[in-house]
Symmetry: none
Subunit: 120 residues, 4 copies
DNA sequence: GTGGTCTAGACCACA
DNA sequence: GTGGTCTAGACCACA
């Protein structure tokens, strides 16, 4: 399975698909000029209607991240990694602010980071 | 203004209201036995329909966090703070994992935390 | 306490008051020409607003069951017992039909009746 | 007509809908994994607004009795029959107590039961 | 004033 | 077609 969808999330399925693909490109799991799975294949794989995947791809194309190749599928153009990073940092900033508001201790947050990054 | 709503978010308005109120209770901005703003007052304040606030309040009541008093309004019962903290930590964990996947450096994350908590 | 109100019931409070008083008259706990508690007294006793009791009394008067006596209060006129009985039997009929629909055994129902009436 | 609603009842319409559906599941008129009528179809059939049915379904989902399937409808999960039976018996118990209070004769009640169940 | 329910109608996401 | 959310507005019960 290429990736999975949370059908109970409030984030629309087509958004989840867009985000997963952006992440994969940022992580170089998908490289430039490489083909991504066809709409049909991906739809089948994640158990979703064709239209939903088609919408995700269409919007990714509008954002200049992928491009359709007549009769062949979609290839990766590239992505502004700084933008993705910036967005992720912004998300983090919001969570941390909210944690501070709740008076969660700084140590608690550092513990989470160490737990995931290792405590080097 | 008591608090604001992000109308562009995918999180439904009634969910945002629920979350804000839960936070306020967890942060002791709203104390037990205190009245929260009436449905109509809050609806007007945040520029939202009465039904939307009513749904948020009704669900908070089902969760045992507030209680309606006939003809008077809603009072705060209380909230399981550990649950709220745990949820926030879990949110953080997901972001951090995702940041690591993107190969964002640990230092970047620590910088955000210091920036908000102060660098003691 | 003269009687109690279920504030979580869907039956409006003024209806509950009407029903309780009708029952008391049918059961001869309140006899003809006897005074019932004043609006103020009853409202205080059951923890309810004056208007709510007033409405119940007003409607009972319209139904010819009680009558206001200028400056003194309300006295019992009387009640058509057959009507009350008939209504109760009708309620029972509906429950029993519904129980039969659910395929609850006749014996189960008889058991309830014996349990309450004694098994003579 | 799938079922009918009493618009003069004090029981809210959404509660009546919930109860009817619970009964149908308990009676196996609706079986597990079967789709129930769509929100819009049922709303039209019983002459009620879409939102009212939607609320009933949402609450039944919260109770774990039905489940929504994206873009398809709601399917039956199941129901605790003992709970439904117990509730019905409890309703009966209350009526019978009240009938006894009114000094309705035991025979009257038995007559109702025989009338509906047949006098075997 | 407070909460509670309901309607008519709109617009979105998904199949 | 399906569910989900939201608005504007109405009317009821209760204080």
């Amino acid at each position: 399975m290429w990736f999975s969808i949370d059908f109970h999330s409030h984030v629309p399925v087509y958004e989840q698909i867009k985000n997963k693909i952006k992440e994969k490109i940022a992580k170089k799991e998908l490289k430039e000029n490489e083909f991504i799975p066809s709409i049909r294949v991906l739809a089948k794989e994640i158990g979703v209607n064709l239209n939903t995947v088609a919408r995700a791809y269409r919007e990714l194309e509008q954002e200049g991240i992928i491009q359709s190749v007549r009769g062949s599928g979609y290839i990766v153009i590239g992505i502004d990694k700084n933008k993705i990073y910036g967005e992720k940092i912004e998300e983090l900033r919001n969570i941390v602010k909210s944690a501070k508001n709740l008076k969660i201790k700084k140590e608690e947050l550092l513990k989470v980071i160490d737990e995931i990054y290792g405590g080097e």
